[in-house]
Amino acid sequence: MITAAQRIEALLASRDALALWIGDFDAHRFNQLLETQLGSHEALDLWVRRGDTRARAFPLSPLLHIVSGNTPHAAFQSVVRGLLVGSHNRVKLPTGGIPEFETWVTALPGELSQLIEIREDLPDEWRLTSAAAVIFGGSATIETFRQQLPAGLPRIEYGPKLSIAMVFSPDRQAADLAAIDILAFEQLGCLSVQAVYVAGGPLPTREFALTLAEALARHRERQPRPAISLSDAGAISNARELVRFRAANGEDTALIESPGDTSWTVVYASDPTLAPGPLNGYVTVHPLPASGQLPAALGPEAAHLSTVALHPFTDAFADRLELLAAPRVCSLGRSQQPPLFWHHDGRPPLADLVTWRDRG
């Protein structure tokens, strides 16, 4: 059994490959993460003083990770957390795998790679003998695995969620930053921005929708969208036609679309109700409602918020959104790069993965 310090040392060996997916790190930052999550960076290896007793953290192990295929981030972040606490990690990948992740595991030092097993199916042994499951995915994925896993198995579920942006300075820079948050990973992740709320009322919002459309077109020109399924293209096409129908019938909405294909779509809608879209480069731009009316104006989908990306990012603007109780507020352009210490969907990244024993 290797110590947390040894596992961190081994993770540092793949720092360059890993930083792309979890952000930059060093031993000090990992130790800080253990400190903030477990109260001590030694809590996994020693009995540490906790008030009037001594306690030690034990990893939930084996730890089953069910990761969706949208972005490799989920796999990297979840397994690094599992390695930090010392779990044996069983990773169920989607059909087709996640090549970046598998390559990384292969290159890990032996003391870490032996703590990771990868499969694309879910054998009974994994289902029945894991100590906990971390599940990433859409509602169908999560529902499927809820049914497949034993009822008493602790489950840590991430998804489905959606993210939004709020723009207080609707300029070209904001449009470029929003385009990054909209187009990264084709909106398949819960950190993907699906709607942009613009301060200043309907007119600046309409103008920003045009600026954003230009930004999306520029980004797509530099980096074309990978091929999407017929269903995904059809979902975009259906959503566009519905907007066209509403606009034709006098609703205060407008459609700006990539000509000849479905690679990007910007919808202006004066109605502030937040609604998930068909993804793959589809965003709706609304005038920002008054702060006090935000939860009611955005409607029931606000309960599924993951991240709110702000431009510019200031505490004063963030404070205006407190009623939304979003788990994370960040700078526009950074929604898809959460920090190492973030509380994913409001949950503690490491504390969820251990159980405690007390002495004394």
Partner: protein, 345 residues
């Protein structure tokens, strides 16, 4: 003669069959002139009676537009409404509405379509649905009721699901025990409930099953072929004696395929086209795309409907149904529009 009457005559076989193109364009012009919400949409696409020269260019509305009841897709005044069929859904869901001022075309299309496609007369029907009284806004129940009144007028009380949703399989078992071949009309989900009850219910030789509805159920999505095998085994019928109907609240004319047949067939007053969603143009021959249906029996609303299903066109009125994209794996943890979807009938 008025257009509606000419359509009825055609369906009933009492008039000469019109050229489809000509009458389809007449129906489009009629709907453009009388259905304001549709006309505005058609104008936005620059597809008007002055610019549309072939049925292939008649603009189709997405089925979700029927949920926008503030823009009613009907070609008659609200006070003339005689029936409204609604898509299924929970109280939180927005339900689509299809209004009718006259059900004669709808009912004639059901009955004459049945005859055109040479489907067997259902002389001993049983219905695994609520009754027309308990489900007055269900297009499916109205369709079943239409077939019952025409083909088995004495079988008025064969509705096996009560107003609380309780399914009475005992009555069906008693009917089966009489040994007379029967026809079981059902949704796929109601059949699934019976299959999952675990008690096989052998039907008399010569029986067959009519099933409809999506397989996107409240729990897990079913593979259609696996589902039909289970149904055939549960009721001890030959798998090829399962008739699948492709229909929806927003349409008046169904399409049918016996289990094992490669494609669904429609009536002479329907046409289909398959569209590449990325380009908006017709898919290449043999290539999959989104199914659009032109149903001239939808006279009072909109004849051209854009479905949310994938299909491959076989000819002008038949298609191989693919359903939702079979190659699309559920990916990602993003909340998407699909998360709000419910079965549509």
């Amino acid at each position: 003669m008025a257009l509606r009457e000419r359509l009825l005559d055609w369906m009933n076989g009492s008039g000469s069959a019109p050229a489809f193109e000509a009458i389809a364009l007449e129906v489009f012009r009629h709907q453009f002139e009388h259905n304001a919400a549709y006309a505005r949409y058609a104008r936005a696409l620059d597809h008007t009676p002055d610019t549309v020269a072939t049925w292939l260019d008649i603009p189709a509305v997405p089925t979700d537009a029927f949920k926008l009841t503030r823009h009613p897709l009907r070609g008659f005044p609200a006070e003339a409404t005689r029936a409204i069929f609604r898509t299924s859904g929970t109280t939180r869901d927005v339900r689509g509405e299809h209004a009718f001022d006259d059900l004669s075309l709808y009912e004639t299309s059901i009955l004459q379509g049945w005859r055109h496609l040479d489907l067997p007369i259902p002389e001993n029907p049983w219905f695994l649905t609520q009754s027309p009284e308990d489900a007055p806004d269900s297009s499916l129940v109205h369709m079943f009721s239409t077939l019952q009144r025409a083909h088995a007028p004495l079988a008025r009380d064969r509705w096996l699901i009560d107003d609380t949703g309780r399914l009475d399989s005992q009555r069906l078992a008693h009917a089966a025990a009489e040994g007379r071949p029967l026809v079981l009309f059902s949704t796929a989900l109601a059949l699934l409930r019976l299959v999952e009850s675990g008690h096989p219910l052998p039907l008399p030789a010569g029986s067959w099953i009519f099933e409809t509805g999506g397989y996107k159920g409240v729990r897990v999505e079913l593979d259609p072929s696996e589902f039909r095998e289970k149904v055939a085994a549960h009721f001890t019928i030959v798998p090829s004696r399962l008739l699948n109907e492709y229909g929806m609240t927003e349409l008046s004319s169904p399409f049918y395929a016996w289990n094992g047949e490669p494609c669904h067939q429609g009536s002479p007053w329907t046409r289909i086209r398959v569209i590449d969603p990325d380009s908006g143009k017709p898919s290449r021959p043999g290539a999959p795309g989104y199914l659009e249906i032109l149903d001239l029996a939808n006279f009072g609303s909109v004849a051209a409907i854009r479905t949310q299903d994938l299909a491959i066109a076989r000819d002008d009125r038949s298609f191989t149904l693919l359903g939702r994209d079979p190659g699309a794996l559920p990916r990602g943890c993003s909340r998407r529009a699909d998360d709000l979807l419910r079965p549509s009938r």
